[in-house]
């Protein structure tokens, strides 16, 4: 098993944190190998940015995503830029309010930002998305993702984050199916 996962959006959407949580869950609480990478630098400011995670049950030599198996897109620009780089049959998760997928593309959609706003803070959109991915992919156990979340966010924001995660997770488990 080897999965290349790309979480993309624009600066400030917390794609790196989402990738970190995912990587932690898989490597520390499941027995997977995992590596996370990300683009750096001033030329990376604004525009689309991404954080990538590779998970595998064997050691990972080349640490960069070559063709993503999973693409999470939180902005139109990110979708535009990264969709062509992902596998044709990749699992593509989008925020349905922010991304208009190509007609031919079969994606799983969630109004993540709206759900996050519903929880009171737009900045947890990334975590909503992570919950959504967790239920959609089934690759990493929910409780392990939650443990990883605990390690990664400030104590005072934990409950909000857990709620966001759960919102995304439940959305995926209960309502997402039809879009496939």
């Amino acid at each position: 098993m080897k999965k290349e996962i790309r979480i993309s959006g624009f600066g400030g959407q917390g794609v790196a944190l989402a990738a970190l949580v995912l990587g932690k869950a898989a490597t520390l609480y499941e027995d997977l190998e995992g590596v996370m990478t990300q683009s750096y630098g001033p030329e990376a400011r604004g525009g689309a940015s991404s954080a990538d995670v590779i998970l595998s049950d064997a050691p990972i030599a080349y640490p960069f995503v070559q063709q993503a198996d999973v693409l999470i897109a939180l902005s139109q620009e990110a979708y535009k830029r990264y969709r062509p780089l992902a596998k044709k049959d990749a699992l593509v998760l989008i925020d349905q309010d922010l991304v208009q997928p190509d007609n031919s593309d079969s994606v799983k959609a969630i109004p993540a930002t709206r759900l996050a706003e519903g929880l009171g803070r737009r900045i947890v959109t990334n975590i909503v998305m992570l919950g959504f991915w967790t239920s959609s992919s089934g690759l990493v156990k929910r409780e392990n993702m939650e443990k990883a979340l605990e390690d990664s966010v400030k104590a005072k924001t934990l409950s909000l984050n857990l709620k966001a995660f759960s919102t995304g997770f439940e959305y995926g488990r209960t309502r997402e199916r039809p879009h496939e």
Binding site: P42, E43, R45, G46
Partner: protein, 277 residues
């Protein structure tokens, strides 16, 4: 509500590398504001545009050289002033300006700054002081106010910052002023004045850096920092303040003193002339 008229070209586009717009600076970053003042000053100056040269070091502010449509040199971190010195002395007909950041000019480049001021090299140096190293992600530097936070000062900056005008004055610069990004007209005026003033001119401009500095220090965006400058700036002519009070302190209600600190006429550096026989 209605749309503004959509344009393709800005009146100053002939002076900037419009093909590189939008630039890399973050939303609300003050560097672009100061660069515009510079472009305007060039336009308004007596020297032909072709003879204006801009040199930068490394940093967000150091990218100015890359956006001005002049002969422009983006050098190494801290070495803009000596590079500019070489340009100016090798061809005195050039009007050479240095645009760089507080870290570039006053941290790693501090030695060149003080010596060029002492020698009174005929340069116009614009120092964009955003109280931090923006480019590398918000580390503190020699201009970070005491108590401010940065990625290398998670417990707050304990060092006192330089008071750059005071330092430059002690070194011997001919012209020294401090403004903020809100003082756009004064900045333009001083840059233009410095072009024609022989000797070393140093213009410090406080500028918002919402990403590097604001984020660590509870300043939400560039606009908020601009408003702070507007509200807290006090002209040195209107205030009796000691040298020590001129040090920038962003805590409490400490004023930010701005204005022209030095304007004198020491002879600028020129190479020795042999006695002709």
């Amino acid at each position: 509500m209605s749309q503004a008229i959509v344009a393709e070209k800005h009146p100053l586009d002939d002076l900037i590398r419009a093909d590189r717009m939008p630039h890399i600076w973050c939303p609300g970053c003050g560097i672009g504001i100061i660069m515009r003042c510079y472009a305007q000053a060039i336009l308004d100056s007596d020297m032909p545009i072709d003879k204006h040269i801009v040199v930068s070091g490394i940093g967000c502010s150091g990218r100015v050289a890359g956006y001005m449509k002049l002969d422009s040199y983006h050098t190494t971190h801290g070495r803009a002033i000596p590079f500019a010195t070489g340009l100016k002395l090798a061809n005195p007909s050039l009007t050479v300006s240095v645009f760089s950041g507080d870290g570039d000019l006053a941290a790693i480049g501090g030695n060149h700054l003080i010596h060029a001021a002492r020698r009174n090299i005929d340069l116009t140096v614009v120092c964009i002081n955003n109280f931090n190293f923006g480019m590398t992600g918000g580390q503190v530097g020699p201009t970070t106010p005491q108590g401010a936070f940065g990625t290398t000062a998670p417990y707050g900056c304990q060092e006192l910052p330089f008071n750059l005008p005071g330092l430059l004055k002690a070194c011997g610069a001919n012209f020294v002023s401090r403004w903020t990004a809100v003082h756009v007209r004064q900045v333009r005026d001083d840059i233009q004045y410095a072009f024609s003033k022989p000797g070393f001119a140093f213009i410090e401009v406080l500028a918002p850096c919402p990403i590097g500095f604001g984020k660590s220090n509870g300043i939400d965006d560039g606009l908020e920092e601009m408003e702070m400058y507007r509200d807290r700036s006090v002209h040195i002519q209107e205030a009796k303040a000691s040298e020590e009070e001129m040090v920038i302190d962003l805590r409490a209600d400490h004023p930010i003193y701005v204005g022209r600190f030095v304007d004198r006429d020491r002879p600028p550096f020129k190479p020795a002339e042999a006695l002709k026989s």
